[in-house]
């Protein structure tokens, strides 16, 4: 079917018309702001907030050990906080994975309306406000909260139990908030699992553990990796969970960013911290992307 010149130019016009709004929106309010943030991270912080337009690599220097001058000593506190954030994010990934993996098999083993109902029930908390979900854990974990009161009334403990403001409480909150992100990709993967391979493995005399380790885990790896990436990223940059469940005792990079923007007004340093998190995001996603396209390439072979 040969297209005439008139239709081709009309098509082009429609295409431009349809794409223009989002292109302009993303260009002006997404790409340019990100670009400005990159520029800011190399500028000198102004004395009263704002920036001085001078080349100033020491925002990154403060982070990775490259002091401003001979009088300044490198303080590894920011690096420590970043490493703690990494640790919390990794523990969150582990927690959500341990919870979601068996649950995905549980849901996949169901049939009919019961399965739809349970899937609905698992998906629903995903839409609950994040603050409300964190708030629930404040009620559970604080010294006058549900757990402590319950344990006291049974006589198991005498002193009120304070579980708040520890790495543990932050991880619990993060796991609770991010579990749906892990469950859904794993479930999508488990749902498509080819059980004939599992049966073959058992028929050939493999033990349960061998079947799990050599057959089921590799087959569900894409779901595990996908879920881990999309749990890790929001966990790493989170500041709401640590500020509510971690108080002043647990600091994450997100809290540092928030503070440098809204309190100490050192915007360039905050921008540098944000870019450090972005670097992780970019690396993780390009790894994930190249892995995905590689496995697609194998599929068509």
């Amino acid at each position: 079917m040969a297209e005439t010149g008139a239709t081709a130019s009309r098509n082009r016009r429609t295409l431009i018309l349809l794409l223009a709004p989002l292109t302009i929106l993303l260009g002006v309010f997404f790409l340019i702001p990100l670009g400005i943030m990159v520029v800011y991270s190399f500028l000198e912080p102004g004395l009263y907030g704002g920036v001085e337009w001078n080349w100033y690599p020491y925002n990154y220097g403060r982070l990775i050990g490259w002091p401003l001058n001979d009088y300044e000593v490198f303080d590894p506190i920011y690096l420590k906080i970043f490493l703690n954030s990494l640790q919390i994010a990794l523990m969150t990934v582990a927690g959500t994975l341990l919870l979601s993996y068996p649950a995905a098999f549980w849901v996949a083993s169901m049939k009919g309306p019961r399965k739809s109902l349970v899937l609905f029930l698992v998906a629903l908390p995903f839409f609950a406000n994040m603050l409300v979900r964190i708030y629930a854990w404040l009620l559970l974990l604080r010294p006058t909260g549900f757990l402590s009161t319950l344990l006291e009334s049974t006589g198991l403990i005498i002193e009120p139990l304070d579980l708040l403001f520890t790495n543990f409480s932050v991880i619990v909150g993060m796991v609770y908030v991010l579990t749906p992100f892990m469950f859904l990709p794993i479930y999508a993967n488990v749902e498509k699992l080819d059980y004939s391979l599992v049966r073959a493995s058992r028929d050939l005399g493999a033990t349960n553990v061998q079947t799990l380790w050599r057959i089921i885990l590799p087959l569900t790896a894409p779901g595990i990796i996908g879920g881990s990436v999309i749990v890790f990223i929001p966990a790493l940059g989170n500041f709401i969970v640590p500020s509510l469940l971690g108080g002043s005792k647990v600091q994450m990079t997100g809290n540092l960013i928030e503070r440098s923007f809204l309190q100490s007004r050192d915007w360039p340093f905050g921008a540098a911290l944000a870019l450090l998190i972005m670097a992780f995001v970019v690396v993780l996603f390009s790894l994930q992307f190249s892995r995905q396209s590689k496995s697609e390439g194998q599929g068509t072979r």
């Binding site: 702001p33 839409f127 006058t144």
Partner: protein, 280 residues
Amino acid sequence: MFERIMSSKGWWRLFQAYGLVFLIFLYLPLALIFVYSFNANPINMAVWTEFTFDWYKTIFFGAGTAGSFDAAFTESPDRIFEVVRNSAIVALSASTISTVIGTATAIAIRRYDFVGKKVYQALLVLPMIVPDIVLGIALLIFFVGAGFELSLLTVIIGHTTFLSSYVFVVVSARLAGMDMSLERASADLGAGPLTTFRRVTLPQIMPGVVGGFLLAFIISLDDVVITYFIAGVGSQTLPLFILAMMRRGLRPQINALAILLLSFTFTVAAIGLYLRSRKS
């Protein structure tokens, strides 16, 4: 199938029990808020005194009208009304605009091929990948630098930017299953582009468009992090208000407010999930 994998009855039972534990883990914390929201004890929620609707009443009518709670335990209903109104304005405008923009983009991507399409598509999903906090501060720097006053408008702009990506993804999924030859047939039979869109394309993708709108609406309504950075003094939304309440100390009124918000979002989400299940 699974009975065979779980060779022994004991393992199978354990597996089922675990499933229940998982559901309890998901719902027990929320159920706790629900129960506490009816507890009259103004000092310690974990100690039950008696059943009351008063915390809900204080949200609508203020402290004086309900029970003996003094104003120290509650926020004024005017203030609550103001932040709810702000949230409604932001969520409705941002999700409406992003539904139009996201749908237009999805149709263009499905219908036409052009140079650099792959890269363009990657750009479209980028706002969903960038962490909220990065998006929030980037917008803050931009708005302040460009001389915008932080207001409901900046919040709407910020939400629309990343919500358009969500709508694009949802509508694209729907379009992927659509038969494009119908559009061509309609055009060949002499229908104009608008008629074709209204009578052929839109009816087919409607579940996706509605689903995208509902998703955008909920995300906008629930957003804390991005709004936190780009809302001004007079443009506090409901989640920011709840955050401020939580930081001042846990008062029982938060329970009632949280349950009202939760009931609303769950209803919207349930409609969305129902529409999606009907579509497939």
